[in-house]
Subunit: 750 residues, 2 copies
């Protein structure tokens, strides 16, 4: 654990410029509006270690696959959201010398992410070239005006002499991805132009050999404030606008940089891009920074109104949950059906921006409760639209049906580790589970019986072909898989995978009875095939150990040298940073919920004893080195009334990034895992369930807290749940009357 | 199968320049003298597809590891024998126009590898620029004068006019490896010089960051014949000597290029390199091409005298076995203890020149019989010298003892696929087995009780740490391995691996009773540790299936969808070129002898019934997509008197490259597999065994043959075995009297 920000209920704030952890500070002060986003790097020059990262949602590049040893079936490219043309950087000169906090003398440093208003603010007093100036920066990407980036720089002369302050404002296409496979630069510039007021730069992603779309991006900058234009400049890769101001002793002056960013994702051709850029520039020019800032604050206020979780008596937890919701909403708020939720959102390169099963497994349940149903529906439609890619992936492996990818932008698998790409196929089950989850929560059966059914059938057909019948054991098996626990590869009969395959086949068959005959014939689905699915499901092998009374993670797991995590010397943790891969694979240690993931998905289908025995058995071997793990364990622990354990596990997810728990937040935030703390509170501590269309709650308050409150959407209502030490209550804030169940008693809410 | 050369008992010859299979022709016409070697590319210009490959034994470069996803424990570099500075190329001009058979009109083409004399000859008649000239080339690297490359070009004017013939002779450092990870050129040139007579070029391998040695190579060319020097030239990367001759109608003229190659492997500094180059140049200059050629033929005659296998009534088989022995001896003849046997020798890049377990498993048994004991002893000492590297490899995985590498030049593991590097650890067993094999065959116990014992103890300590005790099953297990059958990865309890581990522990303990107390204490080996080894060996889990009466390849193998290879449509073979890796892994198909490899190693320890049941069971699932597989199956089949089957399997290895059986000879020859056909004949058809120091034979003659003869060294004797349809005999050609066993009867040979 490493805590470099102060505890504050609404802010992520520090008064230290931590040069050794600059990248970590940048990750944690990232901002975004789902259309675009960026890390918390400085606008002005910083010559020491820093990671400039600016990203545009859905603007990606297929980077040619790079492997040591090719395996048949590997994808041709790995898609990545590339570092956008840099529209943030400025160079600030005091008396002709650039501010560079890596070298300059400074004081009164403050860096603060205001989660309530959606602003990143920074200020410091710098002394150089016998000038002493207080610099303040406020920046945001507007949730109210998605194409707009705004940055206000204020300068106060605290010295004894007048100071010449100059600002060079850039749009610079000379950027690169640290994770580029072949050190390519991904942007080529098509046009640049300057005026005294600002500049324009039009760039396009370079050609690729894979037939995936190229993206054109147009950026138009505008500058406001009391500075005076002293020139404009452009070359092949960038534009520069220079401004200056003579700052008298005691004087305060503002400089504003605004950039409108439009892309070919939204506009058909260059003409309409130009037109849009012009109109949006005009629109923003009419608005003051204060007006823009207020609009931004209003959007965030509305979001918090619906989604805020109040935790009483524990500011650390309070800050944690808000930070997680803030970063999650900054990445995705459901306004663009073509987008999904990247595991690192706009906060880093690694896995940046691509779509993983994280969305369906961990984000969908949260968006179901905190956003309109249409938002989750969009996430489901996203997969429907990518069915052709899923068919392609299955075909690449010589299999029928649809295999959803591990990593993708367009449905085509991008990843290239055989043990993941080819084997971590349980992901397919979660795609189907999300459809079930959406239907169960919203009561909307329209999707599952139409587009959603195409997805279910594609997935069922994959499983039906992927299993094999063991003559010897007279059961269906699934060999050669990697479960959610990626510390085991190429195992046979992973219980979780087999369970999901069985469930998918049954669920698809069940739904088939509700769809139209036209749909069935359109999919060529006949009773013979349905019967085969049932036969496979009924004879699916699900490894169990009668003696221990547990489900067995996979064949052979119990043959291992089973020592609990508690016996591992502390200095060998985390294992993935201290052990060889070989050592990890042979060990019994579990990276992330595996059997427990299955129990979580179908938590009401197992007896208390089954849940308790499996939890107690697997928890002792679980190292939670995936950020997606502790929340699931926390929910099952809460279900078993292990309140202490539930809180302990919740704590590992609550401040995962704020406390750099896994020592890798430097690469970016674990955005999709940020749902974990919310799930642990709502599905865990408050025990929220949906059964047969009815909401259930059984709240308890961890002893570390005095109480908590949260709100959820449910079928046209807005509900508020309040839990305190002695009493818990659920109230209906909006919408028609509703019967829910609280602590085992039905309760009608009006 | 693809046969592009004619059948001839002593030659590999074709009268077609097969432009579509040029690389294949080049692979099969490779020559070498273990000090250096080269593919059969033309000396003169050829502008179509060709692969120029010239290699110097032991001159390698550590190429920085390239992977898609790093795994803890991966090695930093992959060693490769790099393409040497090109000393072979010439440019031949007729009336100022370069000969280029890719474009020119030609006739009477012949390309022939003379295996009896160790020469590569080529001739053709070319017509261009109203010249008609017959060109003949003879080249070899001398087995009698290892540093010398000699090439004689003869020109006969068959036209109606005089022709101006020019030859530009190069030494060119501007070469590259097609398999370079980062497209680096590996040579930097330090010095070049010319005279009319020839040139000198001194080059060194580029710097590396891994502390492995750099190699300096000095090449000195000399030119003879009736041509006249018309100039010499040099630049930063090459030297050129130009010669010309006016060839009258009907006239014949010769041009000779000779190059002396010396390296820093043999000389301490530049001064001694220069001196050696000078002396060797002087030495060769005194010898005529005919004298050199004769010396070369004499060395090969001696080799054939000892090693030739005569097959009666089948020229295809005759050519096959000679080709295999020729290429094997061209790669390694035991003259340099620092060298080993690269799977592709000097014939290609892939795996080129590095050391694999192939040496101990497949080459040692042949060299034991066909070379002096010292040759095999050198191969064993090679591993002893690399013990520090083996300790390093085990430590990288967090394990005790010695883990010999999958791929290496210096003992340090080079390979970087986790399922191979970390898991294909059975290789360690074969390193120990080779010591046992050497001791058993030669009767020399000196090695095994001294240096060899250090190796055995290092290996035993590795196994003792690598196993784990399964509380549940109360046995020792080995999880997470890849057996010889690389179509299964990360399996548990591979029978072959567990068997070898058990055997290693017992053998090391057994030998410990014969070594000196000093040795024991020097290795810190005490009775407690020996007892532990015994306890592990006695409780090692060896999967068996009582019902089928077979050893089980690994846990879960029998749960697979077990359909024989015969059910796979022909157009899907070979699997590795037609199936996804995922499909291959889940299938029951076996790439190479696995359980059968264990049965082969200890063939007299199993009952006939055990051997028969396992052979019959596994053979039906084996695709033999490794060239190392069929010979082992052939030997076990022969042992079981399945003569038809034995011959069928032998046939897959007999002409593996000559008939491009695996469709990959284009990359180079399967040098280490070339022992397979010899093993199949001697250990298979002739049933040679060594038990308690006595030789056993039980020959049969396949019905496709009339008979066969071969010779072997055994403990100071030279024996000849002759088998014909009706009778087989063994005679003593050299050395003291000896009792052997023929067809179950003891026989004293005088």
């Amino acid at each position: 654990m490493q805590r470099i920000f102060e505890i504050d209920p609404w802010k992520v704030v520090t008064h230290t410029l931590d040069k050794d952890n600059k990248r970590l500070q940048e990750s944690m002060t990232s901002i975004g509006n789902e259309y675009m986003g960026m890390r918390g790097m400085f606008e002005e020059k910083y010559s020491d270690d820093t990671h400039k990262g600016i990203y545009l949602g859905g603007v990606w590049f297929p980077d040619k696959t790079r492997v040591g040893w090719w395996k048949n079936g590997y994808p041709a490219y790995f898609g990545k959201v590339i570092n956008a043309v840099d529209f943030v950087s400025v160079d600030i000169k005091l008396n002709n010398s650039s501010i560079d906090l890596a070298k300059d003398k400074y004081s009164d440093f403050e860096l603060a992410l205001d989660m309530k208003k959606g602003l990143l603010t920074r200020s410091y007093v710098v002394e150089k070239e016998d000038a002493k100036v207080k610099v303040t920066s406020v920046r945001f990407v507007s949730a109210d005006f998605k194409e707009l980036y705004a940055n206000k720089l204020s300068f106060e002369n605290l010295g004894q002499k007048a100071v010449k302050v100059e600002v060079d404002s850039f749009i610079d296409a000379n950027v690169f991805n640290e994770d580029a496979n072949y050190d390519e630069h991904f942007w080529e510039v098509h046009a640049t132009s300057n005026t005294k007021q600002g500049s324009k730069l039009v760039s396009e992603t370079i050609k690729n050999n894979f037939g995936t779309p190229r993206f054109t991006v147009e950026m138009v900058s505008d500058h406001k404030g009391s500075f005076e234009s002293i020139g404009a400049f452009k070359d092949e890769t960038k534009t520069v606008n220079s401004y200056a101001k003579n700052l008298e002793v005691g004087e305060i002056a503002d400089f504003e940089k605004r950039v409108v960013v439009v892309t070919s994702r939204d506009y058909a051709d260059q003409t309409s891009l130009d037109k849009a850029a012009e109109e949006l520039s005009h629109k923003q020019s009419k608005l003051s920074f204060e007006e823009l800032q207020e609009a931004q604050a209003n959007v965030w206020a509305k979001r918090w109104e619906k989604a805020d979780v109040k935790i009483k008596g524990n500011d650390e937890s309070q800050q944690g949950i808000r930070f997680n919701l803030f970063q999650l909403f900054s990445t995705y708020y459901g306004n663009d059906a073509r987008l999904n939720i990247g595991p690192k959102g706009f906060t880093g390169e690694k896995y940046g921006g691509a779509t993983y099963w994280d969305t369906e497994a961990f984000a969908v349940p949260l968006y179901l409760s905190l956003a309109e149903p249409s938002v989750t529906r969009n996430l489901l439609e996203y997969r429907y639209k990518q069915l052709p890619g899923a068919f392609h992936n299955a075909k690449e492996q010589g299999l029928k049906g649809a295999l959803y990818p591990m990593v993708t932008f367009n449905g085509i698998e991008c990843h290239n580790e055989w043990e993941i790409t080819f084997e971590e196929i349980h992901r397919n089950g979660t795609i189907a589970y999300a459809i079930y989850n959406y239907t169960r929560y919203t009561g909307d059966t329209e999707y599952v019986t139409h587009d959603g059914f195409d997805v279910l059938v594609g997935i069922a057909r994959f499983w039906a072909d992927r299993v094999h019948f063991s003559q010897r054991k007279q059961v269906y098996m699934i060999h050669g898989v990697t479960g959610p626990n990626e510390y085991e590869n190429n195992v046979n009969n992973n219980w979780y995978t087999n369970l999901l395959a069985q469930w998918c086949l049954r669920y698809a068959k069940e739904v088939s009875s509700q769809v139209s005959p036209e749909k069935l014939s359109q999919l060529g689905l006949e009773s013979k095939e349905l019967a085969k699915w049932e036969e496979i499901a009924d004879n699916m092998y699900l490894p169990e150990d009668k003696e221990l009374g547990i489900f067995v993670q996979h064949d052979g797991f119990l043959d291992k040298d089973l020592r609990p995590v508690s016996e591992i010397p502390a200095d060998q943790l985390p294992l993935n940073q201290n052990w060889s891969w070989d050592h990890i694979l042979r060990s019994p240690y579990i990276k992330q919920a595996d059997v427990l993931q299955g129990i979580y998905y179908f938590i009401d289908k197992f007896t208390k004893e089954e849940k308790a025995r499996n939890f107690d058995f697997y928890e002792q071997y679980t190292v939670h080195e995936s950020s997606l793990s502790p929340s699931i364990y926390a929910i099952v622990a809460a279900d078993l009334h292990k309140e202490e354990k539930a809180f302990e596990l919740y704590s590992r997810t609550a401040r995962l990034d704020l406390d750099n728990y896994n020592n890798d937040t430097v690469d970016g935030l674990h955005v999709t895992s940020m749902t974990g703390s919310w799930l642990a509170i709502v599905q865990g501590f408050a025990g929220m369930r949906v059964k047969d269309g009815k909401l259930f709650f059984a709240p308890f308050v961890p002893k570390q807290w005095d109480g908590y409150e949260f709100r959820i959407n449910f079928r046209g209502r807005l509900l508020e749940v309040k839990a305190s030490k002695d009493v818990s209550q659920v109230s209906l804030l909006e919408g028609p009357a509703l019967t829910i169940n609280l602590n085992g008693k039905d309760l009608e809410l009006k």
